[in-house]
């Protein structure tokens, strides 16, 4: 009996017991769709983090003071004795030393209270240079960013984040208005467009960006240390070249060996990796639960196939009397179990696909349908059908024809 013939017989047998076959497949359907959804949720969350990090600006290197190998040292770096200075940023900006670097934005940061009349709002104050807006790939929804002249003159100007504006100026346009920081009045000259990222984007949209010189004046920090230097590579292919140039330059300027580096250079990629590590733990946990439900589905297939062998014992006997070999009978039941598994898998994928379309609206979480997970799920469903079909198929194959025929 050919495989095509066996497949036809299997499909017929499954259709002959429609209700039972449907119930059998239900376990597989639920298992597969939950695997697809959990993996999709995990990947969706990862995608979201990746989007947020890439929203930081393309081809970005983030240089921070302190070393990764010593977390205590890194924390110290943010304090008074920061190892990263404006001079470092200027050196990186030099085209002859770092030709693969397109732009550099040193930033200082502090927490301050902004005051407008009655309203008082605590936010993060960022002091930086004119290139910040390009390096961080930000747009302005109104007004303008500050100019080089304003940086040079430490002009009393500020650019506010979208959420900051909502808090301080619930009505009316903020551009041209005044906010007071530590007693110094600043003129609002522009508003940043929302960065678009939702959950972790809060700080991106709630900040006051000032010329670095102005920021030093209002926060009273006289030194030249900065908390972060954002470096934009000329393009994506030159990111690692830029990384090496910045790395070598800072080592030379600071007079230290690579092992003693007093700064850290992060790429978007390394940030994504860190963020994904936590996400992955969650995904693995959820997928584990889904895998157990798949196992239960597989046992369901085996159970039904055993019932089916018992119920169709006379059919098996007759087929054997008419010339079916033990192999042909075993194959028939194995293919039946496989078709059940595969159909369950396909329906499960369909349910998962529908779920991944409807779920984001319900739980406010993105779900991505990955082709790899989908193919894997279908393969798993087929393997479950085969794996759990082997035992019932073997039972059917071993029945002696006369015992099978005689039974009522």
């Amino acid at each position: 009996m050919s495989w095509a013939e066996t497949l036809r017989a299997a499909v017929e047998a499954i259709r002959a017991h429609r209700l039972r076959s449907t119930l059998t497949m239900l376990g597989i359907v639920i298992g597969i769709s939950s695997v697809i959804l959990t993996v999709g949720l995990g990947e969706g969350a990862q995608q979201e983090v990746e989007d947020q990090i890439s929203a930081l600006g393309s081809n970005l290197l983030i240089v921070s003071p302190g070393s990764t190998t010593d977390s205590a040292g890194q924390r110290g770096g943010f304090g008074s004795a920061s190892t990263l200075t404006v001079a470092d940023a200027d050196a990186i900006a030099d085209d002859t030393v770092a030709p693969d670097v397109a732009a550099v934005a040193p930033t200082t940061s502090a927490n301050v209270s902004l005051v407008t009349g009655e309203t008082n709002w605590t936010t993060s104050l960022v002091g930086t240079t004119t290139s910040w807006v390009d390096v961080r790939a930000r747009d302005l929804s109104s007004g303008r960013f500050f100019s080089q002249t304003e940086v040079d003159e430490a002009a009393d100007v500020a650019v506010l984040g979208a959420d900051t504006v909502t808090e301080l100026f619930p009505t009316g346009s903020p551009v041209g208005q005044t906010v007071t920081v530590n007693g110094s009045p600043l003129t609002v000259i522009g508003v940043l467009a929302s960065s678009g990222s939702t959950s972790s984007g809060a700080s991106e949209d709630d900040q006051a960006v000032l010329p670095i010189s102005t920021a030093q004046l209002v926060t009273g920090s006289s030194g030249t240390s900065v908390s972060t230097v954002y470096v934009e590579a000329a393009d994506a292919d030159r990111l690692s070249a830029a990384y090496q140039e910045v790395h070598a330059l800072l080592l030379t300027n600071h007079g230290v060996e690579a092992a003693d580096a007093d700064f850290t250079i992060a790429t978007q990629e390394s940030l994504v990796e860190t963020a994904n590590a936590t996400n992955e733990t969650m995904t693995v946990l959820l997928a584990g639960v889904a895998a157990i439900s798949l196992l239960v589905g597989g046992i369901g297939v085996m159970n039904i196939m055993l019932v089916s062998v018992t119920e169709r014992i006379r059919e098996i006997g007759l087929r054997k009397a008419l010339g079916a070999t033990p192999n042909a009978i075993g194959r028939q039941f194995l293919v039946e179990a496989s078709v059940l598994g595969l159909t369950g898998g396909l329906v499960g994928v369909a349910v998962g696909a529908i779920g991944s379309q409807t779920l984001p609206a319900l739980i406010d979480q993105p779900v991505s349908l990955s082709p790899v997970a989908t193919a894997g799920a279908i393969g798993t469903a087929l393997a479950l059908g085969i794996g759990f079909g082997v035992y019932p198929a073997g039972r059917a194959a071993r029945l002696t024809p006369i015992d099978a025929l005689r039974s009522d």
Partner: protein, 247 residues
């Protein structure tokens, strides 16, 4: 023991030598066949008769390779089947034997022609040819109008004719029928018996089990079995006394 119809020129299809069959269920043993010797030649039409429980079906199952003897030798068309594997036996059943059962044993979910083609499926015959041959076989039993009907839509007599069509579709040399008329009314019985007569006329070897003396009369040779032994083996019309035995 006489074997009146056997001519020396003919080939034996069935040769049983001291065949015994013991059923075991737990500690209880029951010897259903107690040393059966019988030879049936190609083209013979043999009826096996005997009272209920005498071992007729047991014998038929052994002849059909559906079961194996506990001891003794069975040669089918010269081949010793007692040493064959399940797979080889399946092939023997498929190629050499056509079965007709008292309970018809049709698959209820399949149409008449799909039931008839079943042995051809296991013989590896292509689908188009199977359909043609199944239709021809059903035409031969007078059911050319009923190709697509399921067994549930057919009368008992029609169902048994479908079963006969299934038995002859592979053109086997041996047809085994275990009480084929046992569940049929007299006119349906007559139809089925006519078919068996025709098959015999076409050169098939037929072994028929029956309770019915009229049915047994149509065979050329009657083998009488009692308590697992052959007690008589005669040509029909030769003063056979089965009336006391068969109930």
């Amino acid at each position: 023991m006489s074997n009146p119809t056997s001519a020396p020129s003919r080939n034996p299809v069935i040769e049983l030598d001291e065949v015994r069959k013991t059923y075991r269920s737990g500690t209880i043993e029951f010897e259903a066949l107690r040393g059966v010797d019988v030879t049936i030649d190609e083209g013979e039409y043999v009826a096996v008769v005997g009272p209920s429980g005498s071992g007729k079906s047991t014998l038929m199952n052994l002849l059909g390779c559906l079961d194996t003897p506990t001891s003794g030798a069975y040669r089918l068309a010269g081949e010793d089947v007692s040493t064959m594997s399940e797979t080889e036996l399946a092939e023997v059943r498929n190629r050499r034997i056509g079965f007709v059962f008292q309970q018809f044993h049709l698959l209820p979910s399949k149409s008449a022609w799909r039931n008839v083609e079943l042995p051809l499926v296991y013989a590896g015959v292509p689908r188009a040819e199977r359909r043609d041959r199944a239709r021809a076989a059903l035409t031969r039993v007078g059911l050319e109008e009923r190709l697509d009907n399921r067994p549930g839509e057919l009368s008992g007599g029609q169902q048994q004719r479908v079963a006969v069509a299934r038995a002859l579709v592979t053109e086997p040399s041996l047809i085994l029928a275990d009480e084929p008329t046992g569940n049929l009314d007299s006119s349906s019985s007559a139809d089925v018996m006519t078919l068996l007569d025709e098959l015999h006329d076409a050169g098939r070897t037929i072994v028929l089990i029956t309770h019915d003396l009229e049915v047994a009369e149509r065979a050329q040779r009657n083998v009488v079995i009692r308590d697992g032994r052959i007690t008589d083996d005669v040509a029909t019309g030769a003063g056979l006394d089965v009336a006391g035995g068969a109930r």
